[in-house]
């Protein structure tokens, strides 16, 4: 294998780890409450703007930007849960889809109104330059993003499977009235799930901002990537989202390298539709 091909694949894996991170938030909410957050990509977009604003105001890099974005987005998640989701999740399907879809528009065009349609970006060397490993060139910012994203996704999986909080959340997902009889309050568990799901989009967004331009409409593409990842990985499965995210990152990079950058989204979306035709339960789901 040529070193360029290896470089493309490594780049894809690093990007895919970030996809996996924000998609795991979507899959958590979906698995737990059977709600699709159509604003998920726009949450990531907000995370990117938070990182940008933190840099523009204080000159701080991702060491400050990532935790600030995580906190702000987690707060937003809790607000969204109590103000909107709690009441629409009992309503008809139309209300569920309209609710989060309207939220997506509201966030996207508020950003557009506030920041304008210009492409903003953090300085290229905010994380350090590029370095060579055995002839493979890797940008430090992408490496940092990939590694942090992998760590957080892994942490989320451990949180959900190995801790009391995780067990409580899974209990609510399984049967919320039974969980209530066991003394678990579904409301607070679901609010925590929204905080986590939105928090990880904040982390992912702040990481992406270190190597990608920031623009209000970026959330649309990222939202679709999250859908593809989640339906590929199976609903409610964080490990599934991780595998699918990495896979999509690699597929995107390879198709950008072989066919051309314009076609990478076309390839991913077509793949998504093929999956809906032939394996709607996802790679890891049971039929």
């Amino acid at each position: 294998m040529s070193s360029i091909l290896v470089q493309v694949i490594v780049g894809g894996l690093l990007l895919g780890a970030v996809y996996a991170l924000f998609s795991s938030g979507l899959t958590l909410i979906w698995g737990m409450m059977n709600i699709v957050n159509f604003a998920h990509g726009d949450f990531v977009m907000l995370g990117m703007y938070v990182a940008y604003v933190v840099w523009a105001l204080f000159g701080a890099g991702p060491a400050i930007g990532v935790p600030v974005a995580a906190l702000l987005l987690a707060t937003l998640g809790i607000i969204v849960y109590f103000a909107l989701i709690r009441s629409i999740m009992k309503g008809p399907m139309l209300a569920q889809i309209l609710g989060t879809f309207g939220l997506a528009l509201l966030l996207r065009y508020s950003a557009f109104w506030w920041f304008g349609a210009n492409y903003l970006s953090l300085p290229e060397n905010i994380v350090g330059g590029t370095f060579d490993v055995y002839g493979i060139r890797i940008q430090a910012s992408r490496l940092l993003a990939g590694v942090v994203a992998l760590a957080v996704t892994g942490g989320l999986h451990i949180l959900l499977t190995r801790t009391t909080l995780g067990s409580k959340m899974l209990a609510v997902a399984e049967d919320s009235s039974a969980a209530q009889l066991m003394g678990i309050r579904p409301d607070s568990m679901q609010a925590i799930a929204w905080a986590i799901a939105a928090g990880v989009t904040g982390i992912a967004g702040a990481l992406i901002a270190t190597f990608f331009y920031v623009v209000p409409t970026v959330g649309e593409t990222l939202g679709i990537v999250a859908f593809v990842t989640v339906s590929l990985g199976g609903f409610g499965s964080v490990p599934g989202a991780l595998v699918a995210g990495l896979l999509i990152g690699v597929i995107e990079s390879l198709s950008a390298y072989w066919i051309g950058a314009v076609y990478k989204d076309i390839v991913v979306y077509s793949l998504f539709l093929c999956f809906l035709w032939f394996r709607p339960q996802g790679l890891m789901g049971k039929s």
Partner: protein, 330 residues
């Protein structure tokens, strides 16, 4: 006869509107309201009656628009050719998306339609035959009446009105047929409908295909009025959003819901664009987003449902006051 009084008055007003309000701006506004009402009514068949929320209806709109402009640009045919061509292509695409996704829960359908809309927009933006990023134009100077190229908005107004009446007629007929009953049963509880023998997947697919075909006609009409189409005006996701929000605001699943929604939102958008210029575009969609969230949160049935509920309550109250003497009333 009294039942027909108000509808006839409303219809008379709609027919007389461009004569009563005859400035070019007002006539154009009226035509646009009707055009969006056609698209939103078409969306309403699958989104309202069947309860399957398509966010990618712009695909069909774009097919109709591109078929019309393509027929002129490549073959010098009348843009009217776009109507049959657009319908055929749209119905075929609807079948391709609908067959796999309508078997699954409603969320899948919404996600798949978004993905298809983006996919088609990207493909069209990179296809030279379809004008790539620039788009296609219609006849600059009309050769004959079949080019549907008029300076005044008046002919468009009556053309759109005719198509809207046909669309609403089809919707009404469908809602009143066996299919309409199936669709409403499926929307309320698909599992219950299936267990009672409703062919859910098939009926949903038919509704989707019917809706796709009608949306395509709206796209063709749009392209003839504006004389050109590009990837954003033909396949931009915001056009789907407009159909969806107009139907939901007026009342999804109600015959006149989309028309009411269009009559509120189109003037709002045109006026805010006129007042604020290009800067207003972002703000308009902030307001749109807020309206959608508020409808979903407080009144998923839309304005017409709200009015109906208030009217019912008032009617019941007046009945009660009339019946104070009857102590044995239940």
């Amino acid at each position: 006869m009294r039942r027909l009084l108000w509808p006839s008055v409303a219809l008379a007003l709609v027919i007389a509107y461009p004569l009563l309000f005859s400035t070019p701006f007002q006539q154009r506004l009226g035509a646009l309201v009707l055009l969006y009402a056609i698209a939103a009514s078409a969306w309403n068949i699958v989104g309202g009656y069947a309860g399957q929320v398509s966010v990618g209806h712009v695909v069909f709109f774009g097919c109709g628009a591109y078929a019309a402009m393509g027929a002129y640009a490549h073959f010098a045919w009348s843009p009217l050719v776009g109507i049959p061509v657009g319908i055929v292509v749209s119905v075929a695409i609807a079948a391709v998306i609908g067959v796999p996704t309508l078997r699954l829960s409603g969320h899948y359908f919404s996600m798949a339609t978004i993905a298809v809309a983006e996919l088609v927009r990207l493909i069209v933006s990179n296809t030279d035959y379809l004008g790539a990023g620039v788009g296609l134009s219609g006849p600059t100077v009309p050769r004959n009446v079949f080019d549907l190229s008029f300076i005044s908005a008046l002919p468009y107004y009556y053309l759109f009105l005719t198509v809207l009446v046909v669309t609403l007629g089809i919707t009404w007929w469908m809602a009143d047929s066996r299919m309409g009953f199936y669709l409403r049963a499926i929307r309320d509880s698909e599992r219950a409908a299936r267990s009672l023998g409703a062919p859910a997947s098939r009926v949903k697919l038919y509704a989707f295909m019917l809706s796709a075909g009608l949306t395509s006609v709206a796209g063709t009409l749009y392209a003839t009025m504006f004389g050109f189409v590009d990837p954003d005006s033909g396949f931009g996701i915001l056009i789907s959003v407009k159909m969806l929000i107009m139907a939901a605001l007026g009342g999804a699943g109600l015959l006149f819901g989309p028309l009411v929604g269009a009559a509120i939102l189109v003037p709002l958008e045109e006026i805010s664009n006129n007042l604020l210029g290009g800067k207003g575009a972002g703000l308009t969609f902030v307001v749109y987003g807020a309206i959608i969230v508020l409808i979903a949160r407080f009144q998923p049935g839309g304005i017409l449902t709200l009015i109906k509920r208030v009217a019912d309550k008032r009617g019941r109250r007046s009945e009660n006051t009339g019946a104070t003497g009857a102590t044995h009333a239940p």
